[in-house]
Symmetry: C2
Subunit: 202 residues, 2 copies
DNA sequence: AAAATTACTGAACAGTTGTTTAGTATTTGA
DNA sequence: TCAAATACTAAACAACTGTTCAGTAATTTT
């Protein structure tokens, strides 16, 4: 054999890129094989089925991401902008891949979402112990809301870029988003009306 | 002919439901025809192509929604919860349909997103003239952020329900979300740190 | 009532899909 | 060096896709 593990890895890398760019259902084994200059049957030989290939692609991409993310968190906790740019510096592929995972639904989507929520929760806890969190009444739901806008910005990347007129990775666009977000989350933007000043009972 | 417009309308209704439930690409003409008890060729006869059917389904669903939404806005502007329940009372189909439109990407997705953003913008303006808006530095980007969490909650409906343990249409879950959202948007949740108390320059 | 139009079907076409099979080349282990 | 295992391919299968075609039934128009 010419170079077992290397060919397999190459195939996996190409698959991840193509899945990230076009989605799982829209990427055929034939297309991946063609891009790799290889016969479709070889993909089956190495991975068994398309589903298995997808799962392996998910596992490896999520694994890398989590590792990198943890490193980045320990590294630089306070500067959002530089963290954001660190994330984007990894290139569009992993972010787009996650986008596709979320879009595809199913088990991995569920897991990814849950992981994002719990990351938000631990962020809130960190902020709390740093004395930078106000008295949040419902931390879990709050974390969920934070997750929604966070993942929303990943999912709607293209739309955002069209509206703000620039790459989401670029400094001006990233700053715009962060400033708006910071104002919302630090000062609030709405003045309570008399009717819903108190929280609705439940 | 047995009842021209009626058959066409029935087909369209079934198509909308199936698209909403399973997505556009995942719903074949044969499946729609089977559900309708009709031959696949009849769909082609009435709509020409699948794409045309999809576009017609989009046009009619978006049209109905916008009309209903405008009526609801004039009707009851202040009570978020009852508005939310009005929205949900229309049933899951239109909301899921929009979800699929957003997921599918493309032109209609773009339009829908842009419409949602501009609706958020006009909400901000309304709030401002009602004296219920703080001094927002970047209303456009702020409207965009609001849109992200709004559409996010539509896209991730299933995940949210799994985490909060109940239908998103139910009163307790809806209240949870709204209370967390209100606190965030009215009081803010983060205390500014010294380093990013001032907005980052650009 | 005859003619024209419209509603509708069954069968097939051509393309794509994931996967299988049978076989060849290449590499490894003994 | 010989045998076993692995890497890899060409061709085909079966299932599915959107769409076409030829034809029949029902309805409208004249």
């Amino acid at each position: 054999m010419r170079s077992v593990e290397t060919t397999r890895e190459q195939l996996l890398t190409i698959a991840v890129e193509m899945f990230a760019a076009n989605g799982f259902a829209q990427t055929s084994l034939r297309a991946i094989a063609k891009q790799a200059g290889v016969s479709p049957a070889l993909l089956v030989h190495h991975f068994g089925t398309k589903d298995a290939l997808i799962k392996e692609a998910m596992a490896i991409t999520l694994g890398h991401w989590v590792a990198d993310e943890k490193a980045a968190m320990l590294d630089d906790e306070s500067n959002q902008l530089s963290h954001w740019q660190t994330v984007m510096a990894k290139g569009a592929t992993p972010l787009n891949f996650f986008r596709q995972v979320l879009l595809a639904g199913g088990e991995y989507s569920q897991r990814l979402f849950a992981a994002a929520v719990s990351e938000s929760e631990s962020l809130l806890e960190q902020m709390k112990s740093a004395g930078r969190l106000r008295d949040v009444k419902d931390p879990k739901t709050t974390a969920l809301m934070l997750t929604l806008s966070g993942l929303g910005s990943v999912l709607f990347m293209d739309h955002i870029e069209k509206i703000l007129g620039g790459s989401i990775a670029s400094e001006p666009v990233a700053k715009k988003l962060m400033n708006a977000n910071n104002q919302m989350l630090q000062e609030g933007i709405f003045v309570p009306s008399s009717s819903n000043e108190k929280e609705a009972g439940n």
